[in-house]
């Protein structure tokens, strides 16, 4: 752990003396990129954070939305990339644990987990397979043990993540508004550390997350203990019910240093704490180590003296340790002692306020030519291509993943993983729909349009269930920000997201920035990940079984936008071409109209059209429902395009509507009235997926064969190479 030379000078001038070693450690942790957001903070302010449903309280680590009837939803997203890249099982598991504690710290019960996973090429690379397999097991073992359903997510493989892993976890909490912790503290209140013991594992993790992986600081690995996390959840919720918690914060990156300084600064008080009171795992830990250890499964609670006994009783019941490590003072100082001896005594505002950077940015050179297309080999047999495409790791069903996650515990999961967004029922009679999406292939080609695309895709998924988007979570993952070209891609993505959020009035309720994601091959592609939460007031659209004779209508135009498409990259090994872009006006119109037709109950189901294009989206419907479909490509609305473009373009704002034939007329009336571009393009029947253009057959596949490949290919790859 170290400070940059100029940061050390700054620190000295702020406190007017040389810092002690403990002070240096505390500052290095808190001023690290991971904790301080020093490179990104200035710019993140551009995202709209307010909205009619957003509840803003001081000291919350997760976003809070009022969903009516006296209830709130909380949500947050985090990543655990560096640890997962060296220890995928423990790294991914503790990633789940970390974000769960963010949810818990507001006083709400965690009710759902989502995960976004990225690895190298699992077809070629055994290391990528190993990372993937163990990260999934890590998430499964942790979430399943907690009894919090992992209800959705996404998985993607790309060469840019070679020997690396992105493991993003989002979590949702639910509770009564009146039970939210209103963080407050007054002089004499007690500061209690609760949960797992503090050890040397995970030393310097936040620094580690901000360094590139080359140094491979392997001591920064944390061992997951989901059992103790489960007990912490129950103990804290019971303490909440007894109103024993004045203020609360989870321990994450930077350990005690960050948790203590941040909470005390937010509450505008001071603290005096004694490291000897911290329950440690190993003897002889130095105060520096205790202050920066990132041992998992710990929470910090501020309580009143009179409430301590009851809090201790609750901890005892759940067999977890709690230690009073200090008390609140009114002097705005962070005073760290060991017994009588002072090891650090810093003004809290110095600790938490790093000088924000305004890093230079420059448009990357590669972007000048990337949208130019090269001549591709022509395809003679689309059926054959389609069959192997359905088994491509990025297209294949992710059932091998979500089948290992308990996605039903808590008995809220109305729409289970395997469709578009997942839907939970809430105690106020409403429903919450949620999905996370990313697309580094498109973000690489056009960081702005790519990021907007992820946002729109997540919205689309939520809309498919009948939900109106009410909040967004963003997770911005990039390489080294000191490289102006990388920083430019960061800014472009952020601006795109901001524009979309403003236009659609979807507030950003939380997010995270992860920088310095570097692999032996260089920086990762820009990988923003967007989570969208949607609310359904009445009834979600639960996909009904598609049967013989049902109609398939597409809403939205298909355009010549093949850049970053799975087809270009997987089939033609070509990175480039025009990135799909979202037309805001059209996007809004389509969203609103689809929600309207869902409400009028004309549809059996709606599926969004995204990765792999129309060809994949329709095949998914067929395979999930085990029914064939006849599609006339000449009817697909949009520009006049070659066959491969109609099949595989990943243009946004497109929805596939499935309905009983008897509702077709009524549907067409609504769609026409709302002036959206749409067309009846197919009919479900038989047992074959058949794409035709005019009288020419383009693709002809047996559903059962296609399904076998699609369902099993990921599992086979992982288990048998």
């Amino acid at each position: 752990m170290s400070l940059e030379p100029q940061e050390l000078i700054e620190l000295k001038s702020k406190i007017g003396r040389d810092p002690t070693s403990t002070e240096l450690q505390i500052i290095a942790a808190e001023w690290s990129e991971h904790c301080s957001y020093k490179s990104s903070k200035k710019h993140l302010k551009m995202l709209p954070m307010k909205g009619p449903l957003v509840i803003q309280e001081k000291g919350y680590d997760s976003g809070v939305l009022d969903v009516g009837g006296g209830y709130v939803i909380t949500a947050h997203i985090e990543s655990h990339n560096h640890p997962s890249a060296v220890e995928p099982y423990g790294g991914a598991a503790t990633g789940v644990g970390g974000v769960i504690r963010d949810i818990l710290s507001t006083g709400t019960r965690p009710i759902a987990i989502l995960n976004g996973l990225r690895f190298g090429n699992i077809e070629k690379d055994q290391q990528a397979r190993w990372l993937f397999k163990n990260a999934v097991t890590g998430i499964a073992d942790y979430g399943n043990c907690l009894g919090i359903p992992t209800i959705g997510g996404e998985v993607e493989f790309d060469d840019c993540y070679q020997n690396y892993a992105l493991v993003d976890v989002a979590a949702v909490g639910f509770g009564k508004k009146e039970n939210l912790i209103k963080n407050h503290a007054k002089k004499g209140d007690l500061v209690v550390l609760l949960g797992g013991s503090t050890g040397r594992d995970g030393m310097g993790g936040s620094q580690f997350a901000s360094d590139s992986l080359e140094s491979e600081d392997r001591s920064a690995v944390q061992i997951p203990d989901p059992f103790i996390e489960k007990l912490i959840i129950e103990a804290i919720l019971e303490a909440r019910n007894h109103k024993l918690i004045n203020a609360m914060k989870d321990l994450g990156g930077g350990g005690l240093s960050c948790a203590v300084s941040e909470i005390v600064d937010t509450l505008e008080v001071g603290i005096e704490m004694d490291v000897d009171m911290v329950h440690t795992r190993e003897s002889n830990m130095h105060p520096d180590e205790i202050m920066i250890s990132e041992s998992q499964e710990r929470m910090l609670i501020i309580t009143s003296k009179t409430k301590l006994k009851k809090l201790q009783e609750i901890c005892k019941k759940f067999r977890i340790t709690c230690s009073v490590i200090g008390h609140i003072k009114s002097d705005n100082q962070m005073h760290v002692k060991k017994g009588k001896k002072t090891f650090a005594n810093l003004p809290t505002d110095v600790v938490v306020n790093v000088t924000l950077l305004d890093l230079p940015s420059k448009k990357p050179v590669y972007l000048k030519t990337i949208e130019k297309e090269k001549k591709l080999k022509s395809i003679s047999d689309y059926s054959k291509i389609m069959m192997s495409f359905l088994g491509a790791p990025n297209i294949a069903s992710k059932i091998w993943v979500y089948g290992q996650y308990d996605h039903e515990v808590g008995i809220r999961t109305v729409i289970k993983p395997g469709h578009d967004a997942s839907v939970l029922r809430l105690d106020n009679g409403k429903f919450l729909s949620i999905k996370i999406d990313g697309n580094p292939k498109q973000c690489y080609i056009n960081p702005r349009e790519g990021a907007i695309g992820c946002f729109e895709e997540a919205c689309r998924n939520v809309v498919c269930t009948g939900a109106k988007p009410i909040g967004m979570l963003d997770h911005l993952q990039f390489g080294n920000p000191k490289d102006p070209e990388i920083f430019w891609t960061f800014l472009e993505s952020l601006k795109g997201l901001t524009d979309f959020a403003n236009y659609f009035k979807i507030p950003c309720i939380g997010g995270k920035v992860s920088l310095y994601n570097e692999t032996p091959l260089g920086s990762i592609k820009p990988t923003p990940l967007i989570g969208v939460l949607g609310l359904i007031d009445k009834k979600p659209l639960i996909p009904q079984k598609i049967t013989e004779g049902d109609c398939l209508v597409i809403v939205g135009d298909t355009k010549d936008e093949m850049g970053g498409s799975e087809y270009f990259e997987y089939v033609h090994k070509f990175v480039g071409g025009k990135c799909p872009s979202v037309n805001f006006v059209e996007s809004k119109k389509n969203m609103k109209t689809v929600l309207k037709v869902i409400q009028s109950q004309l549809l059996k189901s709606v599926h969004d059209c995204s990765k792999g294009g129309l060809a994949v989206a329709i095949s998914e419907l067929c395979m999930m429902n085990q029914i064939g479909c006849k599609i006339s490509l000449e009817n697909v609305p949009g520009e006049k395009l070659d066959i491969d473009r109609i099949l595989f373009s990943e243009s946004h704002s497109r929805y596939l509507l499935i309905l009983d034939k008897k509702n077709l007329k009524k549907l067409e009336i609504i769609l026409k009235k709302n002036k959206v571009s749409f067309k009846l393009i197919g009919k479900f029947m038989g047992d074959k997926i058949q794409f035709t253009k005019g009288i020419k057959s383009i693709i002809d596949l047996r559903v059962d064969m296609a399904q076998k490949t699609w369902i099993n290919s990921l599992k086979d790859l992982v288990l048998h190479g």
């Binding site: 050890g199 059992f227 067999r319």
Partner: protein
């Protein structure tokens, strides 16, 4: 060529916590009548049957397998290999 039994023990490196061992100790053993136990560590064991020309080759082969195939993750675990005559 001879057949050997090889025991591979995979355990957490020193200093890395072992929540499972702690739970077995605190919630099972110490709750009973046996208070003389002070620590429990868990480990995983794999017993290989292998045909090689001698003990030494058997040992180095197994070590190779463990490293190459990532039977354990050296970041958190260590492995020890003991060869027995079958």
């Amino acid at each position: 060529m001879a057949t050997f039994n090889v025991q591979v023990i995979i355990e957490n490196k020193p200093g890395i916590s072992d929540p499972e061992g702690d739970t077995i100790l605190n919630d099972l053993v110490l709750k009973g009548t046996h208070k003389t136990v002070s620590k429990i560590k868990t480990a995983k064991m794999l017993k290989f049957t292998i045909k090689e020309k001698d003990k030494k080759t058997a040992e180095s082969k197994i070590q190779e397998i463990c490293d190459e195939l990532r039977i354990y993750n050296p970041v958190v675990s260590k492995v020890s290999v003991v060869v027995f005559d079958a």
